[in-house]
């Protein structure tokens, strides 16, 4: 992909900056390219949220509490504290779903408008599994490449031992 001039030179156009999406779209327009940028934008939002978590608005917070309410009715107070402590972590983990969902659908149940991430999906374990599904293929490629290097080295050693030039 072609980058617009100076898109990486100034601090306010870094990938974590809120201007990043505008720069990306401008760059696409300059290059005359077309198509969805949802994948790139979703990853940028995820990283931005990981580095500097954004606060949930009242409506989103209410929505999360409503979804937690049935689980907490008979839960002792110390368990409730644990849930409160976990909410930011789980929200960040759930943000990982954005990457996966944005690839397959624009109507996947996650609303990331206005920079506020509202998780409507179950969070926790499923979010980590989604992250794994996203990251594993490239890791497997790396492992295969490393094994191939070792295999080639072994073959060379065996040939050398056999006296084959």
């Amino acid at each position: 992909m072609n980058h617009p001039p100076d898109s990486r030179d100034t601090a306010d156009t870094g990938v974590l900056s809120e201007h990043w999406e505008d720069v990306l779209q401008a760059g696409q327009a300059m290059a005359g390219e077309q198509g969805s940028l949802e994948d790139e934008i979703a990853i940028a939002r995820l990283l931005r949220h990981s580095v500097r978590p954004e606060a949930l608005d009242e409506r989103a917070l209410d929505s999360i509490w409503r979804s937690l309410e049935p689980e907490m009715v008979s839960v002792p107070w110390w368990r409730r504290i644990a849930v409160v402590r976990w909410t930011p972590l789980l929200a960040v983990a759930a943000a990982g779903l954005l990457v996966v969902i944005a690839r397959s659908s624009t109507d996947g149940g996650v609303d990331a408008s206005e920079g506020i991430i509202v998780a409507r999906y179950p969070v926790g374990a499923s979010a980590f599994e989604a992250q794994f599904e996203r990251l594993a293929p490239r890791a497997r490629e790396r492992v295969t490449a490393e094994v191939d290097v070792k295999r080639a080295w072994l073959r060379a050693q065996l040939l050398a031992q056999a006296g084959v030039p």
Binding site: M1, H3, V15, I43, A44, L46, L47, S50, R79, A82, R85, W86, L89, V92, A93, G96, V99, G124, A125, F128, E129, Q131, F132, L135, A136, R138, A139, V143, T144, E146, V147, K150, R151, W153, L154
Partner: protein
């Protein structure tokens, strides 16, 4: 002088335990990788047929294989443990009695049972997933604080990996 020697010794011991100085055994890694490639496909086939029990037995047998030391060997091992644990957790999600057995498995996979500290590996999704599964098991046992720590480790590793992906595909 003695202090210097002890310091050097500890440094080398630490590096060796981290897999940095592990004796290079490419033949072990190559043969293991070939074995795993075949066995993972067998597991895929069994799962496609709905034969979860045999898939679990196969993964459990793989778990008992001798595993080479080093970063690559650890990643391959964590991949097997992750798959085995995911299947076992999903198999009996409502049965609380199996969480204790699963905890032994996650601790074994992460090297928590043999050492005071977990194995040191470079960030990779297989280890991150295993930490997340460890958190899931701890959560199942009601150990919320320990579960939180495990989730944080998984998340920290995934952050690094996502950052790398972005740098690789700007």
């Amino acid at each position: 002088m003695l202090g210097i020697l002890v310091g050097v010794g500890l440094t080398f011991t630490g590096l060796a335990r981290a897999g940095r100085l592990a004796p290079s055994r490419p033949e072990a890694i190559v043969s293991l990788a070939q074995l795993l490639e075949v066995e993972h496909r067998r597991v895929d086939l069994l799962l496609d047929r709905g034969d979860t029990q045999r898939a679990l037995a196969l993964l459990d047998a793989l778990r008992r294989e001798p595993w080479p030391e080093g970063d690559l060997g650890t990643q391959l091992r964590h991949d097997v443990y992750g798959r085995l644990l995911r299947l076992r957790i999903d198999e009996y999600p409502q049965d609380p009695s199996h969480w204790t057995g699963l905890l032994e498995l996650t601790e074994e996979g992460l090297g928590l049972r043999s050492d005071a500290n977990a194995e040191v590996t470079s960030p990779n999704p297989f280890t991150a997933r295993l930490w997340a599964l460890h958190g899931e098991v701890l959560e199942g046992l009601g150990r919320d604080d320990d579960a939180l720590l495990a989730y944080e480790k998984a998340l920290a590793m995934n952050r690094v990996l996502l950052d790398r992906e972005l740098q690789a595909d700007p």
